[in-house]
Symmetry: C2
């Protein structure tokens, strides 16, 4: 590992796919050299509770509490609360396990008491024995909205446009199982939200050597982080190398609706599109061996490419991908 002891690395991550690489990175780097910034744009209020799905995914994955069967929630979970909610005719479209619920209840209580999402996340991480710093992208509310085309498109007679329905992310993702056709995205509150102070501090660290954009959904997991005021500019200004690991492999998303979204937005589901999406931000892109044939086309745009195994089916591959990606970033020339 060519990282010097004083140098630091920042990972930007969303849900399950991102958390896999984040776990690999934690196996590689000590807590003082690695921090993980997590999307909070898919946070939402449900049954009066503040739920932070991406943050909890990382808390569970990095402490070994994640449920490999479901891909979400905790392992050894019980479901008595949901049974009781259904008995009482409460909203039951979002599954809340009994153990999982403790995080939502305490988070809601602590937010009401004036603690920040960052403080709360870090106290949970500490309680779970996680030594690396987890940083919610912002302590302010940002809410990802999926703009979807209505199923029976009635063209608005005034504007001549097909009508769209705004769906809060979890309604789109969980309740409607990503079925509505996507027309675009917006991030409510992002203009007035500040990147969390811990994030800003690490972003402006002169020893920041690499920023790794994890293989998370670029539209709904990474964009909310990048679109926070001043974040993109700070990344461009930073001497750190910014690389991404493509979440698209062989034309499909390894996890989640990214490829479906791209099809609906008429964007080819390919690493080349990922490169184009992150555009001037990237110093390098990591793609899977399956997409080896696209390497040349991406390199032709001036972007260095690492081709490697990105399917993180076990802990060893998580760690070896983390190591390969980091070496790739650190060996990029400043002129690239």
């Amino acid at each position: 590992m060519s990282l010097k002891p004083e140098q630091t690395v920042l990972a930007l991550s969303g849900g399950v796919g991102g958390a896999k690489l984040a776990l690999g990175l934690t196996r590689l780097l000590p807590p003082e050299q690695l921090s993980i910034v997590i999307n909070s744009g898919d946070d939402f209020d449900h049954l009066g509770l503040h739920i932070s799905p991406d943050i909890d995914t990382h808390l569970y994955a990095l402490s070994g509490r994640d449920n490999p069967q479901t891909g979400w929630g905790q392992r050894d979970e019980t479901w008595s609360f949901m049974e009781s909610i259904r008995e009482l005719k409460g909203e039951d479209w979002f599954q809340l396990g009994d153990r999982d619920l403790a995080l939502h209840v305490l988070r809601t209580q602590h937010l009401k008491q004036g603690r920040s999402l960052t403080e709360i996340t870090q106290s949970f991480a500490e309680a779970f024995g996680i030594e690396h710093t987890l940083i919610p992208m912002s302590d302010d509310p940002v809410r990802t909205i999926v703009k979807t085309k209505v199923k029976t498109p009635v063209t608005n007679t005034k504007t001549g446009m097909a009508e769209v329905e705004d769906l809060p992310f979890q309604r789109y993702f969980v309740e409607q199982r990503c079925q509505p056709e996507v027309a675009g995205f917006c991030f409510e509150g992002i203009e007035s939200a500040a990147a969390s102070p811990d994030f800003v501090k690490r972003l402006n660290d002169s020893n920041l050597a690499a920023v790794v954009i994890c293989p998370s959904n670029p539209y709904v997991s990474i964009d909310p982080i990048l679109l926070l005021p001043a974040v993109r500019q700070a990344l461009i200004n930073s001497p750190a190398k910014v690389i991404a690991v493509s979440p698209i492999v062989g034309g499909v998303a390894v996890k989640g609706p990214a490829a479906k979204m791209m099809a609906e937005l008429e964007i080819p589901a390919s690493p080349l599109s990922i490169a184009a999406h992150y555009h001037d931000l990237l110093d390098g892109l990591v793609i899977d061996q399956l997409d080896r044939s696209q390497g040349q086309a991406i390199r032709a745009t001036g972007l260095p490419v690492l081709v490697t195994d990105t399917m993180m089916v076990n802990l060893d591959i998580k760690q070896s991908l983390a190591e390969a990606a980091l070496e790739f970033a650190l060996n990029l020339n400043s002129d690239d």
Copy 2:
């Protein structure tokens, strides 16, 4: 049963002991003839949730969900949430089962949305298949405070009085297991609280034939109900016969800290003291066979007494006590 079809009965009840007689009454009377008014003075906010212990005790007892082993909470309960709360270093002095939790979460959400405690309680009762009307004593917050003597009494040099500590009821009852010595009680908010509209309506019903004060703790379960503005006067004005079933049997409380409280307040733990406590409100008192010898002393004060088996160890006795108490009330002469 000498109750006419148009006549109605109101039960006033607190926790577990009261719920037993309430259950007996529901076995005896149809929903249109019986309503149960429940103490909400021991409601409290915990982990950001609104918890209504006495209301839930009735919801569980009247729907067969009560846990006979613990005497509180639901049967077939699981405890994953509490395990997780402890892992996260959350407050764990009040046990919240996973099923139980659903009521607190939904109640908190609905209160925030502006629904009344009465509406919420009745929607839960309906979901649980309870046909009788359960009425929280008030939709306004009333909070029972137990004034306790500090353990190492430092006499205040200015007032010459021993110092007291105010404990919210659940802190006294659950966290401190009723150990502090009681000096008195107060009910925060009671002056500005209104009896719930459903309670007032039934209290002023000209067909109200009997009010049964269940064998609940007079100080912390029944007094909050009676001390609500206008309730005591309405009871005195009502043509209905008001009877109580003594919660003190053989010098001890059948359940809970009533006898310990009485000792600390230097009041003999006896049915006679219960009679004296309710004073001009009562038209009759039901006492246990164990206390038969006290019947005469109570009758000597002008109060009719029924001596019967009040230990409600099974459903049959709950129902037969309900029947005996009701007959006793209905057969009292208006001159008594």
